[in-house]
Assembly symmetry: C2
Homo-oligomer: 468 residues x 2
């Protein structure tokens, strides 16, 4: 009798082997992505010939249950993760992971100190204005409380954003603006719009760590350009364009995260000229616009929204609980982005837009930002002095914003110190989470609004003295 | 003199040609994606040799300014759109575009009638509960008003969602749930997690049109399986698995959009068994759960969240202005989804989650849904009668929910009627926007809550009599 034909219970031996594999997968004896036992071993266990197992495995491959990796064996299919995602998943050396600071900060208990996080304490935000806006909203029209917003988002808010941009010499009509859930979601939408998997994107080195996480999720190749106190290094920027032909450059022109540096007019002009020559698109992320004392040049102002896309949000200045960001771009791009926004999220939050509009209109946001800028200046001076006193030196004095980018004494490793700090209940932001080249291991980013507690400096001083 | 060397003004002839091309692009004489004039023509215009133009073009290709398409010529690079986006962009025959109904409905003026839209009128929503929730929120802690939410989102709301799911025999711990901005955003996040570009995804035919738009944005290949009044056609589902080896199936188990049909237990069991055999993952979109009179079986209940991912939102039942959706899935997947959620949107809306929690907790949501189900039943009977009276026949009587999927008299084209209706200020939902096979040209979907106005039926009667 051919052993592939029926045993006692009906069905062929091949069917039996297939069923056995399926049972192990269903019962999770074999986990997704796991390697199957060898053909020889399976044949022994099941008391069938190797050719029967080969045929069963081949049929399981054909039906997508398992996968064959030439030269390696057979693996359970189904739930293996796409490559890009694996890369942003947890790692053993999580301290140099772009998501490390985000997750630690977002998951921190109220008892923890979070000088490494990227936002202000809740009691530094315009609480009275937010509460008033909520009470006003509770009396709004039915449609405001329950209907979808228009595809571009609240027109009055977009008009107001257009006027705010005009103050920075950025000319954008309200129809060239769409609202999003956040600044991050704005960049995400733009990446979907502009990038094909495998495209190269330039970022500053260092840059906001979430750009790395987001670009990996888009399967983009990330190339860092060293950042100077006046903006990206122009010569190396030109080299990167010639060598990598990137599709996109993402940057902050004013109060750059993490350095606090601001683009100089001459660098802005040169970067734009290079961008024109190479057909490069630029996303200018301007979420710290209202933290500036003196307005810096904006790429979008020089360029006239031709190849520069300007984005912003109110998460850092008004509330991170109210989700509202925006994109200003060329009209023809905005029209396409509206379709993509509907496909991916079916519109942005109408209540959030109303809350932002309300605080911008009644003057409470403007007054809050005036006070906040002064308060941050004082906190920055104080933090800077305290850090210098223990040998941690700011790279520049940004004069405004919330971040100090600081160099550790020679030979010290920020990741090691951050790990120590975490065990003391303090979340630091080690330099390499911001760095494409991993060349910022001697830096830490401090949020001056989250650095008032003396325990932070005591911990750092102790850590520096034991590491030295 | 070699003509590639300097003319009067310095720079080589090649440089001059390159500069000329760049100028045309900058001035938009040549638009992104546009074909360049031929080498011969360029040589004549510039009075240089063809080899000079060839070299200039080659250098421009190398620097990414233009692109070469073999056998076709040279094209301006830079702003050409990714393929997937082009496909969801505006089309000439926009009535069979998956985004047609969305955009028309979202952009409709208040004077228009919108029986084709997918949501309830604002005054059918629990306005009193929403207003109370906003007033309560205006007295919340500072952190609630201004801080980011935890990465998974509000724990109390997740616990409450877990209890609601348990009522439908879906076992999910609060840590197996993450909050998103909407149901659409939940599916979008899952598509990023599960799909590689080019993967095949099964959908019901017909299905919610935005699945098509979203899947195209993910560069997925979409295969439709005919939907019967008891769920997908099992035999054709099995065939589609064998033929296309899909990665994912997206469906509604109860009150299916657009048909209002509900999965039978036997179909549910067979679909799950096939899914197990083929390593298929299923997204069960359950946004109409609270519209059911009698609970139908859920795939996630049978499967135990092994390969089924359960999602939902409150956009249809509570408010579309409050953005809050959720995902329930295996713990190991949720952990990865949290990273992806941070990368793509840096968290979900804390205020939205608080508002939903508040209305769920104080009982106003429950009472609202009781009344709403009765009100919808009456509207469904009335709409059904009115449609039958003019020869438009519901495919089934769903008994609950908001949709009636209706067949037009033989030979009539829903897209033609929808175009006529639009010129009368009435937005209809023609069948083919829901259909992967484009085989639903004789159907219309009616939202019974938006179909009270007699002008809708007068317009339809007139249109049917002139078309017949």
């Amino acid at each position: 009798m051919d052993e592939r034909t029926s045993r006692a219970g009906g069905g062929t031996l091949v069917d039996e082997v297939m069923e056995a594999v399926r049972r192990r997968i269903t019962s999770r004896t074999l986990a997704p992505g796991e390697k199957l036992p060898s053909i020889r071993r399976f044949a022994e266990t099941m008391r069938v010939s190797k050719s029967t197992v080969v045929e069963a495995f081949e049929r399981l491959v054909a039906s997508g249950v398992i996968r064959s990796r030439p030269g390696s064996g057979f693996y359970v299919a189904g739930h293996t993760l796409p490559l890009a995602l694996k890369e942003i998943g947890p790692r053993l050396d999580r301290e140099i992971d772009p998501l490390w600071v985000s997750r630690q900060s977002l998951e921190a208990s109220p008892a923890m100190l979070i000088p490494g996080c990227g936002w202000l304490p809740a009691d530094w935000m315009p609480q009275a204005g937010l509460r008033r806006a909520l009470r006003t909203l509770s009396r709004a029209d039915d449609a405001v409380l329950a209907d979808y917003d228009s595809p571009r988002g609240n027109l009055d808010l977009r008009r107001l954003l257009a006027r705010r941009m005009a103050d920075h010499h950025i000319e954008a009509g309200a129809d060239q603006i769409i609202l999003t859930e956040s600044g991050t979601q704005a960049i995400d939408l733009l990446c979907r719009f502009l990038l094909e998997p495998g495209d190269t994107v330039l970022v500053d080195d260092p840059c906001y760590f979430n750009f790395h996480a987001l670009l990996r999720a888009h399967r983009a190749k990330v190339v860092g350009v060293p950042y100077t106190p006046a903006g990206p290094d122009v010569a190396l920027f030109a080299e990167a364009l010639a060598e990598h032909a990137p599709r996109l450059y993402i940057t902050n022109s004013a109060l750059h995260n993490p350095t606090g540096a601001t683009l100089s007019p001459v660098t802005a002009h040169r970067i734009l000229k290079l961008a024109e020559q190479h057909g490069l698109t630029i996303i200018e992320d301007d979420i710290f616009v209202d933290f500036e004392h003196d307005p810096a040049p904006r790429l979008a102002a020089f360029d006239g929204l031709e190849r520069v896309i300007h984005i912003g949000s109110f998460s850092k200045s008004l509330s991170a609980a109210v989700r509202c960001g925006y994109i200003a771009a060329r009209s023809d791009w905005i029209e396409q982005l509206v379709d993509l926004k509907i496909a991916a999220s079916f519109g942005s939050g109408r209540l959030s837009a109303e809350l932002v509009l309300s605080t911008l209109r009644d003057g409470s946001y403007r007054r809050h930002m005036q006070d906040l800028r002064e308060r941050l200046s004082r906190a920055m001076s104080q933090t800077s002095e305290r850090l210098k006193a223990i040998g941690i030196v700011p790279w520049i004095d940004p004069g405004a914003g919330i971040f100090l980018w600081c160099r550790l004494p020679e030979g010290l490793d920020a990741a090691t110190i951050a790990r120590e700090a975490l065990s003391d209940g303090i979340i630091l932001a080690p330099g390499n989470v911001f760095s494409a080249s991993q060349g910022a291991g001697g830096f830490l980013r401090f949020n001056v609004a989250q650095s008032a507690d003396p325990r932070i400096f005591a911990m750092l001083e102790k850590s520096l003295s034991t590491s030295a």
